[in-house]
């Protein structure tokens, strides 16, 4: 039992933070920009749209900038970074025995309602990330490290939104009071 618990243990967050900071620095050093995730998801989504409804793409300026005409939305570094994130997450999970089909949810709600909330939350995240021109990785983390004013305002807005609503939706995550 103890061995399993030991295996499931996560890194000390400060250790994870230092490693992530060094990686972020190396990313700037080697590629001139920081880390990202949501942009890659966006491009994969646009690639699928391009397969299904190509004529629609050319008429929508925002999407056309990624996939209009001969442009291939997947021909971009962030798509490869996303592929790497998936691989790295999988290997880390495998090494610790955490790759397992399951649903993480709070003690007071069922797995099914958790799925619904996850979908709605994901949708808000996707919309918000495009509106803010970046997500937690590309805006808050990367822009924060290079002291961009907009990234810091964004970061505090994310925390404000989360903390502002947390008490009202505590049933989703907290144990019964």
């Amino acid at each position: 039992m103890k061995a399993i618990a030991e295996k499931l243990k996560y890194w000390n967050p400060y250790v994870g933070g230092v490693l992530l900071g060094v990686l972020l620095f190396l990313s700037f050093l080697v590629t001139s920009h920081g880390l990202g995730a949501s942009g890659g998801v966006n491009r994969v989504a646009v690639a699928v749209e391009d397969l299904v409804i190509p004529e629609h793409i050319d008429k929508t300026p925002y999407i056309a900038s990624m996939a209009g005409g001969d442009r291939n939305p997947l021909d971009h570094w962030i798509v490869w970074e996303v592929a790497g994130i998936l691989l790295g997450g999988f290997v880390s999970g495998m090494l610790r025995g955490r790759v397992k089909l399951q649903t993480y949810h709070g003690p007071q709600i069922s797995a099914h309602s958790r799925w619904g909330y996850a979908f709605v939350g994901g949708m808000l995240m996707g919309y918000g990330a495009r509106l803010a021109r970046g997500c937690t990785s590309s805006q808050a983390l990367s822009g924060g490290a290079v002291l961009s004013v907009g990234s810091w305002a964004f970061m505090f807005a994310v925390f404000a939104g989360g903390y502002g609503l947390a008490w009202f939706v505590r049933r989703l995550w907290q144990p019964e009071a």
């Binding site: 996560y10 400060y14 989504a45 803010a132 021109r133």
Partner: protein, 196 residues
């Protein structure tokens, strides 16, 4: 001098040899830090677990300090690296929406990827929603185009805003992070006891 224009030197090979390994390390660190588990992430907003705050702000101050030092030593050209341009109000509005999405959905885009990679079903639903959200934005951005391009301040940094030397701002940000680590830890102790 860095940054090295790897994409030009390597061409498309940069994708495989640079971005795939960077992404791999990113995903590995996120998963190992517990970010593939929505309960760990959401607990931040109840002060029960502080992993999000600790990992994120430690990473920011480490990367920031390394960038500052290597710039001061002439190893890195700060003017050549990508600094997110500031569109103040769309950024704040998007951030607030994402905060709401975070507490409802339990992940952010990057963390949902490692959750999917470890077969978490809630992560998969989140990722589906994420795709729906970005497609929705792409289809409707033309209606809010004026707002989306409003308050464009270009590249605008905290040292410029505060009229302080970069080194002073770097020091202040490190202090802010330390104050937050101590303050949040204290608050968690008050709320849940200091058993851990």
């Amino acid at each position: 001098m860095a940054p090295f224009d790897i994409a030009v030197n390597l061409g498309a090979g940069a994708y495989y040899f640079i971005y795939l390994p960077i992404g791999f390390a990113f995903g590995f660190i996120l998963e190992s830090s517990g970010f593939g588990d929505s309960r760990q992430l959401a607990a931040q907003f109840y002060f029960r677990e502080l992993r999000v705050l600790k990992v994120m702000f430690t990473a920011i101050i480490v990367a920031m300090t390394l960038i500052f030092w290597s710039t001061a030593l002439g190893l890195l050209d700060y003017d050549m690296i990508w600094v997110n341009p500031t569109y103040l109000w769309p950024g704040i509005a998007g951030g607030l929406i994402m905060g709401v999405g975070f507490i409802l959905g339990g992940y952010c885009p990057g963390t949902s990827l490692v959750s999917v990679a470890t077969l978490k079903i809630d992560g998969m639903f989140f990722l589906l929603g994420l795709v729906a959200g970005v497609v929705l934005f792409g289809e409707t951005v033309s209606y809010i185009d004026a707002f989306w391009h409003s308050s464009d301040m270009g590249t605008f940094t905290l040292p410029e805003l505060l009229h302080l030397e970069t080194g002073v701002v770097v020091f202040l940000v490190v202090c802010l992070a330390l104050v937050m680590f101590i303050g949040f830890e204290w608050l968690r102790g008050r709320l849940y006891g200091s058993s851990r």
